[in-house]
């Protein structure tokens, strides 16, 4: 299992536990955090957990574009990992507090930055996986040409 996959999965498990915990806390009578917490724990579960798990496992299991082992963990994989995780952390630290800090410009800027880098992370992930999706025939043809 490549290192980047291990990081994706471990980070995913962290969000899984945290997301379930937050969903539990939001149900406690008197907490009154439901509407604020809802986007946080849903994104922890869908992006932080399931999507990150898929990303990590697909980087590991999908046939590599290059047979060279050094290319196994490309810059795109790591960029995708760090951008997604920093995007999610920034989002969870800023989005719920927007109404509390009355849309303070620093918090607004953090939310915007988190949105931007999450998109960027997915672009890098798609750029990594897309060329790996080749039919056996196309793969063979490329190998013969090389």
């Amino acid at each position: 299992m490549p290192k980047v996959t291990r990081w994706f999965i471990k980070s995913g498990i962290f969000y899984f536990v945290t997301g379930v915990l937050l969903a539990l806390v939001a149900e406690i009578p008197g907490v009154h955090a439901g509407p604020i917490m809802l986007p946080v724990y849903w994104h922890m579960l869908v992006m932080g957990w399931i999507t990150q798990m898929i990303m990590g496992v697909s980087i590991w299991m999908f046939p590599r574009k290059y047979r060279d082992k050094k290319k196994r963990e490309s810059v795109l994989c790591w960029l995708s990992f760090w951008l997604l995780n920093s995007g999610l952390v920034l989002r969870f630290l800023s989005e719920p507090f927007l109404p509390i800090v009355q849309y303070n410009s620093a918090v607004v800027a953090t939310v915007l930055l988190s949105a931007f880098i999450q998109v960027l992370s997915i672009i890098f992930y798609v750029a990594e996986i897309w060329p790996r999706l080749q039919t056996p025939e196309k793969r063979k043809r490329k190998r013969t040409l090389a």
């Binding site: 046939p63 989005e95 915007l112 949105a115 998109v119 997915i122 798609v126 996986i129 056996p136």
Partner: protein, 140 residues
């Protein structure tokens, strides 16, 4: 090696992931800057695309590729059925999203969901006999 139907399903799921994350970023931006409150109409599109377009379609495409294959006949069952699964799934999703954009309930949305259901039934049919161990498969 990845079969062509799986390549298509996974590629389409990657596109849906990208679109839904962009829609999510638009919603998040609007939440921070409060530009157009009416933009919240894209929220159901955002989560339908994530769940159906990305997660479900990716899992279906990967399962069709990776589950145990038949040893004696066509490796993964009927290829025509596999293509029918992809076409019904994506047309169904397209109709569903269109109905959400145009805010049309009723027959159009039901037909979109019905096509999705048909695709999932085909998936079940294609996969059912492949959910075995290779030891069991060799005796067939």
């Amino acid at each position: 090696m990845i079969p062509l139907p799986s390549i298509w399903m996974i590629r389409l799921s990657l596109l849906y992931l990208l679109i839904s994350v962009i829609l999510g970023a638009i919603l998040l931006t609007n939440k921070a800057l409060v530009l157009y409150p009416s933009i919240w109409v894209i929220l159901p599109i955002h989560y339908e695309l994530v769940i159906w377009g990305w997660l479900v379609q990716f899992v279906m495409g990967t399962a069709y590729w990776m589950f145990p294959k038949y040893l004696k006949q066509v490796k993964r069952g009927s290829v025509t059925l596999a293509w029918l699964m992809i076409v019904t799934f994506n047309i169904g999703l397209y109709i569903l999203i269109l109905s959400l954009i145009l805010r049309i309930n009723g027959i159009i949305r039901i037909s979109g969901r019905s096509l999705l259901m048909l695709s999932v039934i085909i998936f079940g049919l294609l996969m059912w006999r492949r959910i075995v161990s290779y030891r069991e498969l060799k005796t067939r």
